[in-house]
Symmetry: D2
Subunit: 366 residues, 4 copies
């Protein structure tokens, strides 16, 4: 667009002529101009611009994690870029308020022109879901319409390719599996962790059983709760139990990766685990904000069109609300908190390991 050496201008650099002439309200074309259609177009365009930016960041992070050996310097960069995604997501959620200044009645002034277009046709959003790691199997079908009516053939091909490539979920899982912490000389994480948990649970039970102030009924109810918690812990002590839950689609992250993530959470005060911990936190933030955005979006749709079918024929509100819950990719990281134990109960790391954790990542050093 711009010739080399030509001085850069603000409008030229941002290609404003194109960007700002890309709003053509259909209602205007049809001669019944609806004032609010401009907002509808503009806000969707900003969403798509933000999706582009999120993909730009995510792609660069995926690139880093595709490497066999990940330089610690890159973990820092990856965290910053995920942090940027997080800031964008916050704006995406808050931005819904702008759209809500359009009232349902104002929407009706042009809504009928939009059929059968639908937000579900957002290629970038679909790409984002796939790259994060939402597998086609876990995706809720949104209508009877087949996949192919939503996207052009070329787009479908590209989406299928993305589905074949390792997602952020896959790469993060690999990275976690490769971390060297779990069995270090003279330290078996799982064993010491299990002992600490069992001691903690036994102590708790004892405290309840011997509390003279607790009425019997209350005692029973507390002991029942404890049993439930103990059952949760059993599932992390045994690889077989974990894998069975994977079989039932109630977990997804591999056993080894789960243990590594747990280790990072428990010992995150160690300098070397600082960045890995922030990385996992950022991933959970992204998942949480995406879920919040879906929920917020669902409520807005409910408010805007009520129980009517969406322009693209989707089930509208109920579909969107369901995805808020089910399309969470990193639920396993969320659930990790189930397995945390207080620092005071945490087995100390052997000193030689603690020292080791002071610098491992940036090694190439003895």
């Amino acid at each position: 667009m711009k010739k080399k050496n030509e001085p850069v201008s603000y409008a030229g650099y941002l290609q404003l002529e194109r960007v700002l002439s890309s709003q053509s309200p259909i209602s205007r074309e049809r001669g019944v101009s609806a004032h609010d259609e401009m907002l509808f177009i503009v806000i969707h365009q900003t969403y798509e611009l933000w999706f582009k930016q999120i993909l730009h960041e995510l792609d660069s992070v995926l690139e880093m994690f595709r490497e066999q050996y990940i330089d610690e310097r890159n973990i820092g960069v990856a965290v910053s870029r995920l942090q940027r995604i997080i800031e964008i997501q916050k704006i995406m959620i808050d931005q819904v308020r702008i759209l809500e200044t359009m009232t349902p009645l104002d929407f009706l002034d042009f809504r009928h022109f939009l059929t059968p277009a639908s937000g579900f046709q957002s290629f970038q959003f679909r790409a984002l879901e796939i790259k994060l790691g939402l597998s086609p199997a876990r995706r809720i079908k949104y209508s009877q319409q087949a996949y192919h009516t939503l996207f052009s053939e070329e787009e479908q091909t590209r989406l299928l390719e993305m589905e074949k490539a390792p997602s952020f979920f896959d790469l993060l899982e690999n990275w976690l599996e490769r971390t060297p912490f779990l069995v270090l000389t003279g330290f078996d994480f799982l064993k010491t962790y299990r002992e600490a948990v069992e001691k903690m649970l036994a102590d708790e039970r004892e405290t309840v059983q011997h509390n003279p102030l607790l009425p019997d009924e209350e005692k029973q109810s507390r002991l029942q709760m404890m049993q439930a918690n103990e059952k949760h812990f059993q599932t992390i002590f045994s690889e077989a139990a974990h894998n069975q839950l994977i079989g039932e689609e109630r977990r997804r992250l591999s056993y080894r990766a789960t243990l590594a993530a747990l280790f990072i959470h428990l010992y995150r005060d160690q300098p070397i685990l600082h960045l890995p911990y922030r990385l996992l936190s950022a991933v959970v933030d992204i998942d949480e904000l995406l879920s919040t955005w879906r929920y917020r979006h669902a409520l807005m749709v409910l408010r805007m069109i009520g129980r009517k079918t969406g322009t693209g024929g989707s089930a509208g509100y109920s579909y969107l609300k369901q995805t808020a819950e089910s399309h969470r990719v990193f639920a396993d990281l969320f659930n990790l908190s189930t397995f945390l134990i207080p620092r005071s109960q945490l087995p100390a790391l052997p000193p030689e390991i603690e020292e080791n954790l002071g610098f491992y990542f940036s090694r190439s050093k003895k």
Copy 2:
């Protein structure tokens, strides 16, 4: 506390000596001071202060609506106060971010001291739910624990009294039922509305049926969707159908009140309907934000304690998530959008009525 005529001081006015000395971390008392417990206390105290403020506003609005004759001046005041509740709710949601700077592991440093205290014991929040109109029947039970273990006897008495008094839902319903619009001389709203809807639906069907570009399969699928929409409309045309849905607990607002609300939505461009419309909008905003807050809160809890039982013995995350969906009080107002029709299809009001509904500011009028 302050003697009359004594000059007011900032600290005295705000009773800061009391407020700022009301944080006593248990972990400190027990000699194992956990840095983050202060945040936990302070943020909950700010939430309770905001609840107090919300109740202050809501109570004043309830007062106004208890009057048989509601001065329109008061509608303006009521809207402003609901608007203030809305701004507070936005902060309550955003504030969750502050709590999320506490990591799950940091929480474990003092969490065990809190048992069996629980956020479900918030008297003010319970009062808020009741005053908005969450009926005991619709409330999800949050644990096996009986109601009485949560509140003191005196608190229970007060809550039961609140449950007997008319809630905001009840008062709003009454007010809507009393509005004089539905049958005005020479204008039967339901009849003209129904005719307009039926014409609109017939036109839509015709357009689809005679569209030569639509493949047959697509045509069938569209016609099916239309039928679903038509069914929705049937439920608003007939009082019996509406009442049956009330019987099935799928609707709650009385037929007459629902029609009045619909009228306000459809003709809100009339000056006199401006404030009533803003009132209904504010109510929906409050419901939506409360729901968003519950959802946000649920996610935060999931992240903080995983699938563990809450300190008070509640089912934690799953319970909270369910309330986000089910404890919506004004769902009927949300759903009104289902019955809106485009302005272009809206029957015009007879001129004498329109004049009645108007008033003029910058007149020089006739």
Copy 3:
């Protein structure tokens, strides 16, 4: 772009092909791709999209106010549209956080490519300032560069035309001047207001002078403050005093318009003044948010480039900070609070006027 009758698709409707291909980082073209340049482009494009939307709303409001007779229905619509501008502005301010995820060092990776482009070349922002009513005379010069180096000739012509057309400030002033409240049968606003103020000030002085608890020194200081306040009031009692302040560029809004705005503020509880009051409030909100945005922007620039000159040669931070203060258009409305008096001191409106100003919703009037 789209043929008539062709079914609308999401991507086609939003012209995503154009919008999403309008990012061409110069650093990439030059072979030294800087990851963060994409963010820089995208965020500026979203700002420009929001400017377009704000102008869309503002233009429609200007249109309404250009009419000699302004239907009150339109005041309601105008308020909603200004409210939308407000929501957009909030996002524009919060969005700065996203840009701040780019560190100063990352910016340096591509900043040198941008010279001499500069945000001051934003045509839309300039148009916004002009349409709101920032007069060329009051505009702070941002650099030695002449106006014409910033915009193309065609753009300059359009800007000059805008400067000639009545701005929102002008139109609002006209509208206020035309309001019929100030002298109504049997009610002279200025006279009764002045009497009320003078009584209030006399009472205050008396209270201080006869307070036995106040030390003499304190008494003197309070009386001095009161004198300052009294001086402020003098400037509103006299048209000549007001006009002198206009001559000194310390006020801008005409005397009659100022009085009308004051009347609206003081008697805003009257139903008929509800919307006019909201209109004035929204205008102040917009001015305040614009000022906050400029300030936030200035801080961000300081942080990003320090005390260096901007890419376009502007004085960077100091210039921007100054505009936050001086480019306020509706400062006179801000200052109105100086002249408010408590409701308890407010002269009652004669009943026949009060009835005139009212209208009734929930009865079946007369």
Copy 4:
């Protein structure tokens, strides 16, 4: 309050009986109850609660930095706590919106009761300013009233003690001065940095001078700007020049500390500098948000009381606006960006140093 072993209740734990009974509107006491006074009290109480929390975090950080040797583990913790302060500040800014739902007229209903109380009497806010490092000499006097009328004797004593203790500014300066980066074997940071800058500036000048497309006038103007930038750089090359600026109160941070901060900014991609960089960034964030809060607060005051004197006799708006600019504590860190140079121009660290930077903080090893 609570007996040992007594089961903890929500209300007891949060001392709600005290907290929620600490609101006594004066207008109510005086028999002219003003509805909005409750909001005024509650919002100020939440601000004070947040101040308490901020001080809790800041104090714990100051404690860490008082140590001669700062464990890197602690830098991580310090960053998290500063991050929490940042999240609180964001809420403090957004919360202003809640107060703005109170209109100026509503404020007048109870404002006169508050004299002479004033927000300037907030002990905690004053403590915060002192602990951050706002020196008494740099503080803008806010009125003729002497310091002692604002605080009780006991409070004054405590404030004076705080002023004597090392502030966060002092401790951060010390910490920076102690960093071992600046002269490492075989690497003289200042020398290599200076060479890089001079080469960069020479290149820039050359590019402009030989650009055939630039008109002469433009060339001159660009060269002038460059000279201004070069002058900035001179002040960082020479300790004497830097110290002179300190003498003129245009800089405050010591030369050595400034160089260390610059080093951290320039080489922050090195793993070991990751946390120090985040620390400096967080400090700048806090300063920026405090400044934004002051500005936002000033605008709100202007809007609420116009140009009137504050209840405590302060100059109100103009005073507050000035502090937004002048009470910035870490302006030197803001200004660091002036001295950054692009990564592409950055002298590479000698390999042995780079390796050294991989682990230095966590050693005391070997």
